[in-house]
Amino acid sequence: MGQDERVEAPLIHSGEWNIHYDYAVGETATRFFSRLRDEGKIAGKRCPECKAVLLPPRAYCERCFVKTEEWVDVGPEGTIEAFTIVYEPFDGLPQPPYAVAYVTLDGASTAMANFVRGLDLSVPEVAARELAVGKRVEAVFIDARKGTITDFHYRLK
């Protein structure tokens, strides 16, 4: 056999999977999302040992490794812990620009992420100064709530 000197463009074979999941939300988060939808309230769960109010709520405290039982209403105001403003589009994410922040709501021990709306994002440095770590925000509930985390968003105080 002689050397085959043909130069061929490498072939690409495509594959695609459309996989649907049905994630069980669990009793704890079900109650959280139901109250969010029906009453416009945000509630965390308090650890009976370290007393931390966990938000998003958890059925257990990871540190103390005990079940949580007590519900505590938190917010609606809180403090920004971290943020970003997204200016470029990504697969599977919303059309930019949009702002996202981790906020520790008053009465909670942990921060929860959500969109920050109602802010002019057109000049990045200006918007970033408004969203700085330590700034105060409040949770704003939308009218058409569906029992998901985007039933509310943050707005600068």
């Binding site: 812990e81 990504f90 599977g92 770590v133």
Partner: protein
Amino acid sequence: MVQRVGILGAGHTTFAERRDDVRLEELVFEAAASALADAGIARADLGTVVMAGADQLDGRSISSMMAAGPAGAYLKDEIRTTTEGSYAAILAGLRILSGEYETALAITWSKTSESPYDLISSLSYDPFFSRPVAFNDVVESAIVSSTYPSPTVQLAEAAAAIVVKNRRNGSANPRAFLREPTTAEAVLASPYVAYPIRSAELPPPCDGAVALVLASEERVLRSERPPVWIQGFGWGTSNYGYRGGEAAAGLAGLRAAAANAYAMAGVSRPASEIEFAEVFDGTPFDELLAYEALGLASQGKGAEFALEGGSAAGGSCPVNLSGGAQSTNLRFAAGMMRILEAYLQLSHRAGPVQLVAPRQGLAHGATSYPAQGHAVFVLRNY
């Protein structure tokens, strides 16, 4: 009991934006064969093979099933981790220390031209509280960066300085994928992708695979090449989510990993004892935050360290003389490439980027999912 782990040899593939000339298995073979040749050992003499791969990036479940053969593991002991490339070296090091194996091939690959990386990174997030709020690697990386307590202007300039430094270093490194320097003006003029991260701070990814051959102390001392040791290694994971008062930029996971690696290596003053470092720099903020977490710069002085040239070639602790991931963005395999570059320095085989007589350096790998998993390696040649 084996006393310490050494590196017998290392290898990597050529890097390209797309390696369409090879299927994934062939890419793995290229790196494994290169590492075995460099180590001067035959596959038959290899004790165990440790792989690091991510099924969701590879587009194959149990991707190690196809990779084991080309990695050299045919009818051999093999195991895989899915955390991040450099964790293959952690696991391989532990298997050597167990005394079960004299040699171990640690290998990882990243062929992300085949899959939608950003979309896949969104899969890491909790489907109830996080995914509906638009997360992926870049967004989370930007969020972590926002908690660094530094004046905004200084932070932006330090980030740009790190990109300029690493791209300049990479331009001299024949192993680097990107070999073109850039300027601070160009970086700072590029648009924000996710504030504070700019488009010129996110290096274009490349395809490739990287492998190391690790061995017991006894086996390394039988090699003809001067030894290089992984004198200490450690790993750590940061909190999932944020507790009040724990700034994400503190990188608790990296501090824990470094503390373990330093304790094992007997390093008590990293700022003076670590002569150079190869640090994860998927964004310049990753490198900037690592200066303090690794103890290379004092607390709160990371940005100054970058701006005053402490991490530049000729600085007190040159960081990413290889060009880092800013020049060779191997994504999942970026951490293993850091170890390879640190190894080549201590083996006096780093080529144009070689330091004069280095004795001890550090390599750091991180899950690109920011502020989460970190692996730290202290390498020395004495």
